[in-house]
């Protein structure tokens, strides 16, 4: 069960996920998993009760200040969804949520995985235009798979790599942020590693904010990232910067 995004629901409801990327991965998973979203609502209602149990009235001066301050604070307009979510849509289909402003949840989710800003819609639009629909579907299909497993790790030398793998889809989505820039003669190469050794699983694109679907995922696999010559290697030639195992 380790790495199962479902186990993150508790930590998420407790606001105990400090890694923004991991949080976004979980939110991306929620978009495709209605039962998870429903469970999270119950969890958040539960943690709110923990707050109520700790209730302690603030001094009256806080009330006075707040009520005076709001006169000078303009309210945000509501987020207008591009598309109304359909109730009762199929669970596995990534569905747009009103609170997520993107038009297509799966794609936006993929974009949001790695976008530094929490609202990555504009970036998502550009990336969307640049990518083939098939690749987008593949990413979305992994993210919303009912057996999706995730893992996040910090890379040696800085940056974060996050993966979401699905055995039923046989795919793993890799997203990274903040990895140091390499000279043009070098590239980040992905490996899927099991008892038989590492299998090359492609290179991280130069535009590393873009999540990629790597290799053929098997449940016993770990994912490693190494620095290799620009064209990639047949076997890893350097020590992995990070090793992730979501299952």
């Amino acid at each position: 069960m380790t790495g199962d995004p479902h186990t993150l629901a508790g930590a998420y409801a407790l606001d105990a996920i400090d890694d923004a990327e991991e949080r976004r991965l979980f939110e991306a998973h929620l978009d495709g998993c209605e039962s998870c979203a429903a469970e999270l609502r119950e969890f958040q209602a539960t943690t709110a009760r923990l707050a109520m149990a700790a209730a302690e009235a603030p001094p009256p001066r806080v009330r006075e200040r707040v009520l005076a301050d709001i006169r000078h604070v303009r309210q945000l307009p509501p987020a207008v969804p591009d598309e109304e979510p359909e109730r009762g849509a199929q669970v596995r289909t990534p569905r747009p949520k009103r609170w997520r402003r993107a038009a297509v949840a799966g794609l936006a989710a993929a974009a949001c995985l790695v976008t530094a800003a929490s609202v990555g819609v504009a970036v998502g639009e550009r990336q969307r235009a640049a990518r083939t629909e098939a690749a987008q579907r593949e990413v979305a299909s992994v993210l919303s798979a009912p057996d999706a497993r995730s893992a996040t790790g910090r890379a040696t030398g800085g940056g974060t790599v996050a993966i979401v793998a699905s055995a039923s889809r046989g795919r793993v989505v890799v997203a990274s942020s903040g990895l140091r820039t390499l000279p043009s003669s070098r590239a980040y190469q992905l490996w899927l590693i099991d008892a038989a050794g590492p299998r090359p699983a492609g290179l991280l694109p130069g535009d590393r904010d873009r999540p990629v679907v790597a290799g053929t995922w098997r449940p016993s696999d770990r994912l490693g990232v190494t620095v290799e010559p620009a064209g990639g290697s047949a076997r890893p030639t350097t020590a992995p910067l990070v090793l992730l195992s979501p299952a």
Binding site: V62, I70, V73
Partner: protein, 194 residues
Amino acid sequence: MPPDTRPPGDGTLSGQDADALLQRTARGDERAFERLYDVVAAPVHGLVRRIVRDPAMSEEVTQEVMIEVWRTAARYDPRRGGAPAWIMTIAHRRAVDRVRREQAAGEREAAAGQGPGASHDPVGERVEARLEHERVRRCLGTLTRLQRETVTLAYYGGHSYREVARLVGAPPNTVRTRMRDGIIRLRDCLGVER
């Protein structure tokens, strides 16, 4: 207990009242916001105090949270888990943010495993709030020790699950699972319904 049986303004949260008030607040209704303040300020402040500890700083954070509620009320989506949950999430985030900023300057004492039983008991605490306090305390008591520790360290201590893992000496994945199991038990014990 059904949330709508509580009288308003008693320092506890009726989910439905809070929802209605928040939706009116979103339309710029200052009166509704005032009432919302009276309903949620105590739980917000209590949570903030647990995490931040410093009284003056806690007041500032509570103030920030309530202004944030005013500012972003229109972004609240009732399908996300009720107004109290939404507001408490804002409060928790703000409190943790403040603590993390302060940590850069000086070390904060880890407030390990402080359940609601560790709260000071103001004389004027209202009956309903006390009942809620007792209910949650009793339900926390039904958790295993590790479940309770992980839940309270994260929620009242403001620690991330990785920090909690360090504090309790368990692997992060175990902590994630215990948190989830603990909340499920709490949910069932408290009779949280959606």
